[in-house]
Amino acid sequence: MILTAALGLPMLGALALAVSSRWTETAARRCAIVVSVLPVLLLAWAWRQFDPQGVLFQFVEEVPWVPSLGMGYRLGVDGIALAVATMSALVFSASIAYPVDTKHQPRQYYAWMLFLQSVSLGVFLALDLLLFYVFFDLSLVGMFFLIGRWGHGQAQLAAFKFFLYTFFGSLLLLLAIIGLYLSVEPRTFDMRVLIEQQPLAGAGMTAGLVFLALMLGFAIKTPVVPVHTWLPQAHVDAPGPVSAILAGVLLKMGTYGIIRIPFAMMAETFSRYALIIALFAVASILYGAFVALGQSNLKRRIAYTSVNHMGYTVLGIAVAGALIQDTEYARELALVGATVEMVAHGLITGALFLICGSFWQRTEEYDLDSYGGLLRQAPWLTAFAVLASFASLGLPGLAGFVAEFHIFAGTFGVYPWLAVIGVLGILVTAALFLQMLQKVFFGAMPERWAQFEDLRPIEWGVLVVLSAGFVLIGVAPAFLLTLVEASAALLVGGR
């Protein structure tokens, strides 16, 4: 029941906010914050209860939904899912608590945010392919309304682009899911059965097509170059907290999906194409980094680093799925790294986008060159921005390093040359973040920002929580690694 509660409570909260029109802004906000924290607590509790030595999926719940189709309301988590879900819940709480201009519709804003929290957690907690898809698609709907209604700039356009682009991916996914479904007897959408049976092993063309559709669908969501172009615009025009969710949570659905479906259910096919996926991942790493370096818009720059970081994740997964002899250790390391990267990127980029949101609230300006010397006016904002940037560029002691180090070490054990090429990415990332910091926070301050405010207490508090998260993972990741390692070992070694 704990998982159902985790995704059901925000849904109930969303309904409560949606149904009654009596909520004041403060009441709606307080209610949303409180409700959004509950899943964090529940999942943290589940984390404590999780048995790393136990079976792959724990806390399993099963209620038939459409049994004649083999579909059910099935929930359950392994270490990977639990880690990503907990991170997501946390990022949601942080984003909901972060101040934003609700454009006189606070009730609707918080209702949509809670709705999105619920369905996003659903994606990570689902153990049924179709249920996974249901939540996957609903997240698009929630995001569409959030961007379109509360975004700025060309928000509608960005929302359209986001929805259309990723919806195409999700429909491909639907076809592939049906393909998988049709390949098992008896027909079922139960992920556990599909993982166990590996239904399309050796199925040649069919397996290839199903795999292609799956990977394309997830690649769009992740996003992997060259199907990433929906991302920058959606990010730029979305309000800060929504960007934080988009980058922190929604992108993870792509990579999590890769781990959960093609990686786990089509191991043989995956291994056949692992190298190609890894090449795309490396392309994403470098391309994302270089394009980010070329951006002069604060939010676009951060948005493109997501392409880079998700490239690391995909690289880790691709490597983990390459069934090359005597590389189990390395592959397990890579998968652990990929998972940690998901968690780390969620927290770090979440924090960065929230900081962007603070900028927009104060200045409505994203142009890097118009800033400078803000350290004088806003030391706390600077401190958090520096910390998050360094975390994002992979500085040891912060979460990004743990992830990237695992991934590179794992990759080297399987595809040494890709590791050598890919590692260049962290150099470019460093360059782009340092340049960004330099332009925004240091040097001389233009007169127009003389009234620039430092962080307000609530912003400060939220950023402290997120930063604590990625510092903790950077310094003492054992709690996370132990959880993930167990599942990674089962997924990599158990095959």
């Binding site: 700039g153 060309q154 509608q156 356009l157 359209f160 682009k161 259309l164 682009y165 170059v225 990433h228 172009t229 920058p232 615009q233 391309y287 270089f290 394009v291 980010a292 370096l293 070329g294 951006q295 250790y329 390395a330 390391l333 400078g372 010397g373 350290l375 004088r376 030391p379 360094f390 500085l395 040891p396 002691g397 390093f401 180090f405 590179f408 070490a409 080297f412 054990g413 040494p416 590791a419 050598v420 590692v423 260049l424 962290i426 150099l427 470019v428 460093a430 360059a431 340092l434 340049q435 910091l437 330099q438 240091f442 040097g443 001389a444 990741p477 054992a478 690694l481 132990t482 390692e485």
Partner: protein
Amino acid sequence: MLWSVPILPLLAALVIHGVGKRWPGDDRGRAVLTLAVVAITVATLLLVSVAVTVDWSGTYRWSSRVVLSLGMTSASAVFAIVVPLIAAPIIVYSAYHEASPVSGGGAARPPVGLVALLTAFVGAMELLVLAEDFVTLLIAWELVGACSWALIAHEWQKAGNLRDATWAFLVTRFGDLGLYIAAAAAFAGTGSFAFADLAQLDGWRLDVFVAGAVLAAAAKSAQVPFSPWLFAAMSGPTPVSALLHAATMVAAGIYLVVRLHAELSAVAWFAPVAITLGLTTALAGGLVACLQGHAKKLLAASTSAQYGLMWLAAGAGFPGVALVHFVTHAFTKAALFLAAGIAERHVDSYSLTAMRLGRLLPGVAAASMVASLALAGVVPLSAAWSKEKIVTAAGHQAPWLAVIVAVAAGLSALYATRFQLLAFGRGRHDRMSEAVSRPGHSWAEAVALYLLAAGTLALSLLWWPGVGNGLADLLSVHFPGTRPWELILSLLLVALGIGLGAWAVRREVSSQQSETRTAMADWFGLPTLSARGVNAVMMFSHGLARFDDRAVDAGIRGSARFGAWLARLGERRGEGAFDGATNQLAKGIDWAGQVARRAHTGQMHHYYTGIAAGLAAILIILSIGALL
């Protein structure tokens, strides 16, 4: 328990930073800072000595594959002791020499942030030298880099400082990539990151490992072609340079070579590479230093050159010699930087031609003299001993190598002389000149300098018979035996260098600096070259960004075009933003939409024709199907 050694300064730094803002802004605040720093370094030193005597170690488990571990080897012990030893006076110096950059127009506040960062820097360096596995090493390695970024960027109001800090960070991070690769190769070969398991490494992975480690170490210790980053680092405050060069950042590179010497020299090409690298840097750095007119840059080039000598020693198979030279060099170089910093305060410039403060600052001049002579390699000062050992070590490889090394050592005599005479020679400034009215230096700064000079003098005990052998036993390293001809040649070259230096100084007063000389003095134009490279990269990424906007996205801008139209229809804003955008797919669908709409003319006979045509099409498809 060994964790306490690096963690103590790191935590202390946090505490200093946290509570430092509330301290008084005057000299009392500086005094408190000084006391705190001294306490921390002494405590660290105590912890290290305890660790050495009772053989502490430490492990910290991340996961079943990744275990962080600390341990003490002779090389780590030396570094672990030297680092706080050098750092203590430097940090005290900085507490008085610098001011907080945020203090603005009011009274200069003590540089709490800087002191905290320097303290953290010490902690990171301790972590680096105590690391017993690659994860820990890499963590410390990059933390050191990040600390140096923050330190160089200390005066953040000047955008140039930030650029230099970024540049320094990026160059060294480029080297760090080597360490990433090395660590990955080690894991791939041994299934673990521990140094202890490196012996199992063989085959191509060993080659990759060594290449990565060499790259990382060379970049950190500013070997050619990475040397120019040290110049960029000169944007930082003087104490930062002192610490960076003497004991921490740059030292990390040579520490890695010394610590992993056994594994590195398992590949045949390591020795020639290390020797070539070291020798090239020593000669080039020496030349640059001889030509530099900027006091700190002269010293920086000298740092590269001296670390080049250490590389050479390690390459020649005597990491112990490199270790000792590191220690002797640390004291002299720290002292010289502090002296240069004091000089700059008096003339408001690092330009050597403007100094000649011998009369004004006799005490400082004397301390600087000790360090300069040691750097020059004048017997019986400390650095001379280790330098002679390097010449000898080179001689073990080949006699001609010893000759070249001696020439490089002669160069160091030349530039050391030049530095000393230009900075603290007897020149225009005397007690009567206008410089007196300038703010001088505090007693604390002078004491710091004297302490370091005294350290140099104390280390001169190495010349005392038996001390060298005792040290070798203590560190369980091997020193090469000195050959008379090498010693004589070397001493002759030192003398020649000093003479040439004195001559050059006399000439320098009159002559203008030529273009070529300026270029050569700036690492033979390497920075320009790399600046071009950076420009190329930036252009590439801007181009890529444009490409990403226009080309890759083109297929998707269907929605954009349509959305723009919608925005016009709906919100009446965002108009025209995408008017120029050409998008084939969007155009195609849009066109199809128009055609489909236009085809629906509202005219019945067109519909009838359509139905007839549709029927014909159905018939044709059915007939084809029947024929197939």
